[in-house]
């Protein structure tokens, strides 16, 4: 497939990872953001 449609092949490889990433951002994004901010507040001096 790569030899005939290299771009299609590349996109087919990216699709599951991109979907996983989008789901991760949607589901865990706010939680991760809050956790990182809490950790920064603990370590960084105001």
């Amino acid at each position: 497939m790569q030899d005939r449609h290299p771009l299609l092949c590349t996109l087919a490889l990216c699709a599951p990872l991109a979907a996983l990433m989008a789901a991760g951002i949607y589901l865990a994004g706010p939680t991760v953001k809050n956790a990182i901010f809490a950790a920064l507040k603990l370590v960084v001096i105001r």
């Binding site: 490889l13 990433m21 920064l40």
Partner: protein, 278 residues
Amino acid sequence: MKGLMRYLAAVLAVLCLMGAAVLAVFCCVTTERFALEVGETRMLRDLQQQRIDQAAAEMTERWQLSPELLTPWTQDAARLQSLAAVAWWGDIWSDAEADLAMPSWLTPQQEAELVAAIRADEGFIALTQETQRRAIARDEVAYAIDVAVCEAVTPLRRSVTEMLLTAAQEVVPLPMIRQAALIGAGVLTVLAVLLMLLAHRAAGSIFMAAGLMQAALSVPVILLDIPGMLAQLSNIAVLQGQNALACLGILWYGAAAAMLVLGLLIIGVKKAIGRDEE
């Protein structure tokens, strides 16, 4: 079925390449060079020195010290302490015996000299009582200058940083973590190449996908807006955060671009060879 196995092997190869890139970037973060990049800008240095000078001016006014008394202990402090912090960062990741405590600005001897100078100052003598002078000079001025310089250069809570590093060191020595990351990056790259063989004639697309996904991985990092978070906490930390992200961005996008180009080259060369054969 065979096609699905090849596809899964190709996806795994992309993941391995991305994992190798993450580990390689971690290795770069633990170098002295990276720490130097984080603290290198003129604007940051000026802001740090300004913060130190301000703390010294407040102390001078509060304890009625001679205007130039603290100058020798705060002059160029931001630059020198920054170099000490950079060397410390390099040391803890390369030497298992290195001191995990962040470097302090004044040595015990310098602190003693400063305390003596403050106790001999006329304005200070006029303001304070004999019995309190030593304690005030040591705790309220000399120690406070040390803390002000350290906090201006590395705005991190020293106790927490030391505790975290010690906890990590107790599990696995820090230099070993670094070496493990380096070896891990190598192993993942080899694994990716083996998976490419399994994926059969898809190496070009695998490299291109890895480059694209690596670039895409920066989206969540951008969405996290770490400089924005730091801006709420410390204006020195936000500059350092921006420097760190800029330095990491160059490495990250550079590697992504290299993989894209490599993928395109492989596809191009294969096509050229294919045409020759026809």
